[in-house]
């Protein structure tokens, strides 16, 4: 087994960067890095060491933590090096460790080793992934709920009903000589409808659920100097972008994420759209167009004291009305006349002032409303995973096929094809149902025995 290495902290600059090593050579590598061949760290303690470059020049002073396998994340010997969070230093450290025999880890390889060494099972690994990726509290809660088997419980009663139908039909064709009660096709259809209804209810939560997990990408667009950055900062409640009076000052796209009622919303502040004056502005404008294309939602800001310009209307017409909100800014100033009439009536319009904060609540509500009243607190279990969603959809399709076959009056074994397929799909989500379970049910329900 070789020793792997990777940067554990996210890319970019920060105070601390962490490099993690896992494998039998971890300790040897750190000894070589610190020029201390006799270094025998006590596990779970932190040591200060200086790391030198190959030239002998100091690279950085670092903190070393040693975790002796199996009492480590991966179950192998693990060494964590906390250095200053400079990408340059991190890069150098990676190179040095690789020269000493470590291999750059593949994606998820630490977790894979953890699984292999029995430190966690696959569903726990999934949970970690989801937890890491959770952008809001509510998303994290959903991840946790899923792991606790809430999804399995929600499907349990549907599965049971489905099994009952299967049992009934299988009994009819398997035990044709036994004295079994008559099958009532209408009753079976009714139960089947119920099952389809429950599954459909769950499937339809995906629209909300996946937003909760993946978030809404929105871009704030508009002419220069309408107050986009001010609005952006207000929404973030901190000064992030540069705000000046000069039109076109926001040269870059800046993206931040906020949480609105548990739903992660990423906001991208963009360069004011006008015909670019200089090269830097051009780049900024190009980025703006890209942000617009990527966005689930556009917040089009208009200066309420001046009214919509032809460019504003052009922006509005370029994109679908449903996924737009018109934020008429500067309501603290006198409003331009005839403003509303120049806008399409189907548009969602909010009046606000980025300066005073007035109307901001309405904007928040409008953002969520644009996606169908997403309120994660009051809703029950949501399907957030596209794999689960896909399986539920396929189960629904199979059941529909069975329903049609049943209505056609076809023989039971044809109806059963769709039912068994649906059960298989549901089984993929929650856990297998085997033939034995169905047979057991048959013999519990009916007196068979010619």
């Amino acid at each position: 087994m070789d020793t792997i290495v990777a940067v554990a902290t996210p890319p970019g600059r920060s105070g601390i960067g962490v490099i993690r090593l896992s494998g039998p050579q971890s300790l040897d590598i750190i000894r070589a890095l610190s020029y201390e061949p006799e270094f025998t760290p006590e596990p779970n303690r932190v040591f200060l060491k200086q790391i030198l470059r190959e030239s002998g020049q100091p690279l950085d002073t670092v903190l070393i933590s040693y975790f002796a396998g199996p009492h480590s994340f991966t179950g192998e010997d693990v060494v964590e090096i906390s250095c200053h969070g400079s990408p340059v230093i991190l890069r150098q450290l990676l190179d040095l460790t690789q020269n000493l025999g470590a291999r750059l880890a593949g994606p998820g390889e630490f977790t894979l080793r953890a699984c292999k060494n029995g430190k966690m099972n696959l569903s726990q690994a999934e949970a970690i992934r989801d937890l890491i990726n959770a952008q809001t509290d509510a998303a994290a809660v959903q991840a946790a709920r899923q792991l606790n088997g809430e999804l399995s419980n929600a499907l349990k009663s549907s599965k049971q009903q489905l099994i009952q139908i299967i049992v009934r039909l299988e009994s009819a064709l398997e035990f044709v000589e036994d004295d079994l009660p008559q099958i009532h096709a209408e009753k079976i259809k009714a139960t089947l409808s119920e099952v389809m209804g429950s599954i459909n209810a769950l499937t339809s939560t995906y629209a909300t659920g996946h937003l909760l997990r993946d978030g809404i990408k929105s871009a704030i667009v508009g002419r220069p100097n309408v107050g986009k950055s001010s609005l952006f900062n207000k929404l973030l409640r901190l000064d992030r972008a540069i705000v000046t009076d000069i039109a076109g000052t926001t040269r870059d796209s800046i993206t931040e994420t906020i949480s609105l009622q548990g739903v992660p919303i990423s906001l991208t502040d963009t360069a004011g759209i006008r015909v670019a004056g200089d090269r830097i502005e051009e780049i900024g404008v190009e980025r703006t167009h890209r942000a617009m294309a990527d966005a689930d939602l556009l917040i089009v800001v208009i200066d309420g004291s001046v009214g919509p310009s032809p460019e504003d209307l052009a922006v509005l017409s370029q994109t679908k009305p449903a996924r737009q909100i018109v934020a008429i800014n500067k309501c603290d100033l006198p409003r331009a006349s005839g403003l509303e009439n120049r806008l399409d009536h189907s548009l969602r319009v909010v009046h606000l002032s980025a300066l005073t904060g007035e109307g901001l609540e309405n904007l928040s509500t409008a953002i969520l409303d644009a996606f169908g009243n997403v309120d994660s607190e009051s809703v029950g279990l949501l399907i957030t995973d596209s794999r689960h969603h896909d399986l539920l959809r396929r189960a629904e399709t199979s059941l529909l096929q069975s329903m049609e076959t049943l209505s056609d009056g076809a023989s039971e074994e044809l109806v059963l094809v769709g039912l068994h397929n649906a059960l298989r799909f549901l089984g993929e989500i929650t856990g297998e149902t085997t033939t034995d379970d169905i047979l057991a049910e048959i013999f519990n329900t009916f007196c068979i025995g010619k």
Binding site: K119, L173, V176, G431, A440, I448, G449
Partner: protein
């Protein structure tokens, strides 16, 4: 070692598994000895005098397609043929026949006696002779030693058999026949894991004492469907069976006397089948059922013995007589043989490979009830497979296996060797994921070529098979190319009958899939030159293929999709004990079944999803 006689193959047991094994091995060129306790009881049906039934009928046809003998013997001795599930789709239709019990035996024995290379020997096997984990022969009770490099154990319910009637118990393999005790002990000595199962049988009645008019007759089919693909027509006269019912008083009487029943008194240790329960079981488990169905099955044209199907019991013999008299129509009935329960040893079938050879001892094969199955057909198909492979071993030829995608036999063997048994294993159509593709009438298409390649299918049968397949192909062609057009005379009538719009024109292929369209209707629409050359059964086969094709394809996609990890190989040297997070029990199951792929592991019962995850990761990391 010195032997009194030597053969290529020894088959222990002359029941349904033994007969198939001996016949197949001999016909494959192996000198074969079939050793049985009683030559007069070769081919004896221990219980219900009937062959076939749902899924069982499929097995018989598959045995026949491969070149086995059960189907032919059943065709010659069947006295009431019925195709079950006629009103349902072809995939779940299955042939069944009551047989003349005595005639079945004599026909079976005669078939074996006319088989070259096959030598019948009466006697009891008391030990297996094994050298260096390889079988070399058997030792007989009378002192003889018979040598062979391949031995098939097909001992049925005889291994440590114990019969219970009321409180009386006695060792027996069947009522009136001695049990095989030493052989059972020999298997234990060799280290095989042995368990205990039970089964039961109902009383037989004197037909002269039955009031037949009180029962509902059940007719044979007008057009009996034979089991064997070599049988043109069933010639012998058919009989009726009769349906009757128990009463509430009868149930109450049984309930009052449950303490006399060996199963309920704890006297019997073995586990019985859930699906053929004794009348005691029925009455206790389904207490609110007012009456239970019974069938009167005459055992032959030349005997007045009648089998009382549905009344399996081990209550005391005298009590059985009183109980039977409480059944309407049987007030004067006399019992000729009382019913009884029997417990017997079986060996964990997970000891076997897909060729039914024991992993622990080379050359030793197990077939039939000894593997924990119940039913003549289940036993026979295992016998056939074991016989083929025993001969293959003796002749140094490659072994023969069947896959579950292509046959019920494959399903049965695969279930046994991977999952083991908790109760007597009976075949059901629902055990086959590919049920729609495994029809009784396409067993020849699926398996004949294997039989031919092995050498069990002779020239005339092979010819007949090819002609049938050609006819079915031309039927399918006709379905594809013939169209029913608006201008045709029949168009209006057809469209009215099925109450549906057929468009400008419709191919017979598409028409046949519409609900309400029968085989007869389609036959009448075929062009005369085709209709004259094919039989109705050929058309029915073509229609069935047509009907199911789409469903089979759709199901295939789903199954493959869900099983895409299944091909992942599990390294043969993977030590399951080293996998973290597996309970002792799961490690045990894995070690027993030795799955070679992840797909095989997935089907091991009791393996949790978490354990499977761990196994999957390990399999991937090792590979």
């Amino acid at each position: 070692m010195v032997f009194d006689e030597e053969f290529d193959v020894i088959v222990i047991g002359g029941g349904h598994a033994g007969c198939e094994a001996a016949s197949a091995a001999a016909r494959l060129g192996a000198t074969t000895a079939m050793v049985t306790l009683n030559l007069d009881l070769i081919g004896q049906m221990s219980c219900n005098p009937a062959i076939g039934g749902i899924a069982k009928g499929h097995l018989v046809r598959e045995i026949d397609a491969l070149g086995g003998i059960m189907g032919r013997v059943a065709d010659r001795t069947g006295i009431q043929f019925r195709l079950l599930n006629r009103s349902r789709g072809p995939a779940v239709q299955s042939p069944r026949a009551q047989a003349d019990r005595a005639l079945y035996r004599t026909e079976m024995r005669s078939t074996l006696e006319h088989t070259t290379n096959l030598h019948l020997r009466q006697g009891m096997v008391v030990d297996l002779l094994v050298e260096k984990a390889t079988v070399v022969g058997v030792a007989m009770q009378d002192g003889r030693r018979i040598g062979a490099p391949a031995v098939v154990i097909a001992a049925g319910t005889f291994l440590n058999g114990l019969v219970h009637t009321g409180r009386r118990t006695y060792t027996a393999g069947r009522a009136g026949e001695p049990a095989s005790i030493e052989l059972a002990e020999a298997l234990k000595r060799l280290g095989f894991p042995v368990g205990r199962l039970k089964t039961g049988t109902p009383p037989r009645l004197d037909g002269r004492t039955i009031d037949w008019d009180a029962f509902e007759p059940q007719e044979a089919d007008e057009r009996p469907v034979p089991f064997s693909f070599s049988t043109e027509k069933i010639e012998q006269p058919q009989i009726k069976c009769y349906v009757g019912y128990t009463t509430k008083d009868l149930h109450a009487t049984i309930r009052r006397n449950l303490h006399e029943s060996p199963l309920y008194s704890g006297q019997i240790k073995g586990v019985g089948p859930r699906y053929c329960p004794s009348i005691e079981d029925k009455v206790v488990k389904f207490a609110d059922k007012e009456r239970h169905q019974l069938f009167l099955e005459p055992e032959g044209h030349h005997t007045h013995e009648v089998y009382l199907n549905g009344f399996s019991t081990s209550l005391p013999a005298a009590m059985q007589q009183d109980l039977v008299r409480m059944i309407p129509g049987l007030e004067e009935a006399k019992i000729i043989r009382p019913g009884y329960a029997i417990e017997y040893d079986y060996v964990d079938p997970r000891e076997l490979g897909a060729d039914l050879q024991c992993r622990r001892i080379t050359g030793l094969f197990h077939a039939g009830q000894v593997n924990g199955t119940t039913g003549y057909e289940e036993a026979a198909c295992q016998g056939l497979l074991a016989g083929i492979n025993a001969a293959a071993l003796a002749k140094r030829k490659p072994s023969f296996r069947l896959r579950r995608e292509e046959s019920y036999i494959g399903v049965l063997v695969d279930d046994l060797i991977r999952q083991g048994v908790d109760e007597p294993y009976r075949i059901f159509t629902s055990r086959a994921e590919y049920r729609l593709a495994l029809r009784h009438d396409n067993a020849d298409e699926r398996l004949r070529r294997y039989g031919r390649r092995l050498g069990l299918v002779d020239d005339s049968d092979w010819e007949r098979f090819n002609r049938r397949r050609d006819r079915i192909t031309s039927a399918k062609q006709a379905l594809r190319t013939t169209r029913l057009r608006k201008c045709d005379a029949a168009y209006l009538a057809v469209s009215e009958t099925i109450k549906s719009d057929l468009g400008h024109s419709v191919s017979l292929e598409d028409l046949a899939r519409r609900p309400g369209v029968t085989a007869d209707m389609v036959e009448r629409l075929l062009p005369a030159n085709i209709a004259g050359t094919i039989a109705t059964s050929d058309l029915e086969a073509a229609l069935a293929d047509n009907l199911y094709a789409g469903y089979i394809r759709a199901q295939e996609v789903v199954i493959q999709r869900l099983n895409h990890h299944d091909a992942t190989r599990i390294p043969a040297d993977l030590n399951f004990k080293t996998l973290q997070g597996l309970s002792h029990e799961m490690v045990e199951r894995l070690e027993r079944s030795r799955p070679r792929t992840f797909g095989e592991a997935r089907s091991i019962p009791g393996l949790t999803a978490a354990a499977l995850s761990t196994l999957y990761v390990a399999a991937n990391l090792h590979g």
